[in-house]
């Protein structure tokens, strides 16, 4: 599959090519997953990187800049890891960057409520570099749980600066910048605590170190390199060790010393595996000892509230019903809330269209120009905005709220057994949740899955959850065709339930396809699974709103508009350039009609999906334009008008259901396909994804359409 090789070395190179001036100081930001590392990063740099309360959030590595005391600092956000033993791609990337000598200072962000486990990583970072600064974050959460951290004592023991912060509220960031500045400028010289491994390991290290010093950069801790050489498996392809700074060319002196060291270790009963155990055990014990000295906890059961919430949200009986109810509630609020603003926006934007048309008439500009600019470009954009903006502006903050609270890992916990049965990774549930926002982001988030096989499964199936580009289509169709004709309240309820059913169907399809992939082209068993269920956190309402509006809603909307403008123009042109009696558009639609009919749709719908390849958001607007160019020019300022337009084109409930099914199950948008190519470094996987998703849609629509017709339902 070749994923792993590409990912580690190449990714490290690609992601961390730091373009900076010589006087810029590079700072690495390391930390366990879910310690608020991204929040620290954002607060320091002012960048709005997306953060969330679930492990493994930093999937694309961010770089940001800040100025402190007239010096500019380049901050590099490393992936969150529990250790630096290079057990996964993320760990390898983080380790390689820290030991590359590039960062002047490495800041390790830790969670004050879970300090002991976090110290494990801190000690490992301090083995690699002297220039470490420890940031103890989430102090307010610790205070709430009555956990006291003796920061001065911790700094004394570790021999590096320790700063307590509350990054969400900006507390302690100034001090953190000061500490980083002092270490970077050499004003403070660290004397970091070194974990001792006892004899005979220490003897071996002493033997090796002098040779190692000769071949590595002076920035790199030779003791650490010696330790890695000792524990490296020399029988595998990975030998000689490849670090960014070290190319070991089977140096005979070192090899001889290593062999001597091996004999010593073996005498003490330390073979390779036992040595690794021993090293980790020493670090964990050291962390435990330090934690005992600096932590005091008033309440024995400080996690009691979290446990109580978990006993409902992840319980056998209530776990899944609560999950479905929450999701249903989110959709209900979205549909209910979006209805009115959508109409207002549509009315407003079409009023502007009329004014613009009037302007064109008055100026005497040619009809084709009016057509292409107003009826083509403007109208498509107006539809994209009025149909998409309101649901997104409501859905995103709600979903981000669930994320911020820490609910998503609980979803993964509840669903894990299903994923295991599908021979897939439990964290696939998390990547699935990311797909709700944007499938391209969902594909990138698959990096949290280490096993290449399971990662590919997660990538290929990510498209089965509808992204926000497809939600408005689903909502509009469900509202007017499935829930149509009921009272307003009933309509919202039925529409929400239909969307919910679509999502559940999407999850079921994800599981089925994962299973099929596991039995065919991606054979294998599920790999190990350890998922952290982080503490629930007080959500930051203000930030959620700002973040989800700026980062997600506006970003997605602007992308949609950028794509919609040219697509609208092209579609209008196709619809109005005639060959024979009918337009090119109608010719093509006719060509697609027989196939489309088998799938319960018509040629225009299939064509709209094809033209919508750049972005799913424009499928519905293109379809509307196709229908309108075919004759009926009506004012489209309400869902009722949309229903009339579709009905006039021969739509039934079956057409709507099939279009919804095909919207859920068809080829991913261009951006997602490109992202898959980038993530897998091959053309093969985007093509397979394209085929798998489209085939699923065709099969599903065919079965539904044909059965409905056979049973005489439509």
């Amino acid at each position: 599959m070749g994923l792993r090789q590409v990912s580690s070395q190449e990714m490290a190179k690609q992601t961390y090519r730091i373009d900076c001036h010589e006087e810029d100081l590079v700072i690495a930001l390391a930390g366990n997953p879910n310690t608020g590392k991204s929040t620290v990063f954002n607060s320091l740099t002012g960048l709005k990187q997306h953060t969330g309360n679930w492990p493994g959030k930093t999937v694309t590595n961010a770089k940001g800049k800040y100025i402190h005391q007239q010096r500019s600092f380049i901050l590099v956000d490393l992936p969150g890891t529990y250790s630096l033993f290079a057990n996964s791609v993320d760990e390898e990337v983080a380790r390689d960057f820290i030991c590359s000598g590039e960062p002047k200072v490495t800041v390790v962000v830790t969670d004050a409520t879970c300090l002991e486990r976090n110290l494990n990583l801190v000690l490992q970072v301090m083995e690699i570099t002297d220039n470490a600064v420890l940031c103890v974050n989430l102090l307010d959460e610790a205070r709430r749980k009555k956990i006291q951290v003796d920061l001065p004592a911790l700094s004394e023991i570790l021999g590096v600066p320790v700063v307590g912060t509350n990054a969400r509220d900006g507390v302690g960031l100034r001090e953190l910048k000061d500490a980083v500045y002092q270490v970077a400028m050499g004003e403070v010289i660290n004397k970091p605590l070194q974990v001792r491994y006892g004899d005979p390991v220490e003897t071996c290290l002493e033997m090796l170190e002098p040779f190692v010093k000769g071949i590595v950069d002076k920035n790199i801790n030779s003791r650490w390199v010696a330790l890695r050489l000792l524990e490296a498996n020399r029988d595998t392809d990975n030998w000689p060790l490849q670090f960014p700074f070290l190319k070991l060319n089977n140096d005979s002196e070192i090899l001889a010393t290593l062999q001597a060291a091996d004999r010593l270790l073996l005498q003490a009963g330390l073979n390779r595996d036992a040595l690794r155990d021993h090293i980790v055990t020493c670090i964990v014990k050291q962390a435990e000892e330090i934690a005992q000295r600096v932590l005091s906890c008033e309440k024995q059961h400080y996690n009691i509230v979290d446990r109580r919430i978990d006993s409902v949200l992840t319980s056998k009986v209530w776990g899944i019903p609560v999950m479905i109810a929450l999701l249903g509630l989110v959709f209900w609020i979205t549909i209910k809330g979006a209805n009115y603003p959508s109409q207002v926006l549509a009315t407003g934007l079409f009023w502007v269209e009329n004014k613009l048309t009037g302007l064109f008439m008055a100026a005497g500009w040619p009809d084709w120009l009016h057509g292409i600019l107003i009826l083509g470009m403007y109208r498509t954009m107006a539809w994209v905005v009025s149909v998409m903006l309101p649901p997104m502006a409501i859905f995103f903050p709600l979903f981000t709220l669930l994320e911020d609270l820490g609910y998503l890992p609980r979803i993964a916990f509840n669903l894990d057994n299903f994923f295991k049965k599908a021979c897939a990774h439990g964290k696939q549930a998390l990547t699935m949740c990311m797909g709700f926002g944007c499938n391209a982001a969902g594909v990138i988030s698959c990096r949290i899955i280490d096993s290449p096989r399971e990662r590919l499964i997660a990538i290929i199936t990510n498209n089965f959850v509808p992204c926000n580009g497809r939600f408005p289509t689903l909502i509009a169709l469900a509202t007017i065709f499935i829930a149509g004709g009921r009272g307003e309240a009933g309509q919202t309820l039925v529409a929400s339930l239909s969307i919910l059913a679509m999502i559940v169907l999407g999850v079921v399809i994800t599981l089925l396809v994962s299973k099929i992939l596991s039995k065919t082209i991606l054979k294998g068993m599920p790999s190990s699974f350890a998922l952290e269920l982080p503490p629930y956190r007080r959500p930051q309402i203000g930030r959620i709103i700002v973040r989800s509006l700026y980062d997600r809603t506006l970003f997605v909307l602007s992308r949609a508009i950028i794509v919609a403008a040219p697509a609208g123009m092209i579609t209008w042109a196709f619809a109005n350039i005639t060959s024979g009696d009918i337009s090119i558009l109608q010719h093509s639609a006719k060509l697609l009609d027989p196939l489309a009919h088998l799938l319960g749709m018509d040629g225009f719908i299939l064509m709209a999906f094809m033209l919508g390849l750049p972005a799913n958001e424009i499928v519905l607007p293109i379809l509307i334009m196709c229908y309108m160019s075919a004759g009926q020019m009506i004012e489209l300022d309400s869902l009722q008008a949309l229903r009339d337009l579709f009905a006039a084109n021969g739509w039934t409930w079956l057409t709507a259901v099939c279009m919804m099914l095909f919207s859920l199950n068809h080829f991913p948008c261009g951006t997602t396909l490109l992202t898959i190519k980038k993530e897998t470094q091959s053309m093969k996987w985007p093509l397979i994804t394209f085929a798998v998703t489209t085939a699923t849609g065709i099969v599903l629509c065919f079965i539904v359409a044909q059965s409905a017709r056979l049973l005489g339902l439509a």
């Binding site: 529990y82 879970c114 494990n120 435990e288 446990r307 992840t314 509840n414 894990d416 439990g426 350890a530």
Partner: protein
């Protein structure tokens, strides 16, 4: 010394002390990274829908493990 049982047999609400890991290679290192060394206290918190995975408290963090992994961790019932 008490009886040794695999971690996934630890009933929710009870505690065990890690006595031995039978996992090898990468899986073993992952467990060690979570702090599961000899003598570490582990509490079984909650089973999921079908009884697998189970959430455990390990060194102040809540970690869900599938039975395949948990069965490779031998604990002494406390």
């Amino acid at each position: 010394m008490g009886k040794l049982i695999p971690l996934h047999h630890l009933p929710p609400g009870t505690c065990g002390k890690v006595s031995r890991l039978t996992a090898e290679g990468n899986a073993r290192r992952r467990m060690l990274d979570l702090g599961l060394i000899c003598g570490t206290r582990v509490e079984a918190l909650q089973k999921s829908l079908s009884g697998d995975p189970v959430a455990y408290e390990i060194r102040g963090a809540v970690i869900a493990l599938r039975s395949e992994e948990a069965s490779q961790i031998l604990v002494e019932l406390l």
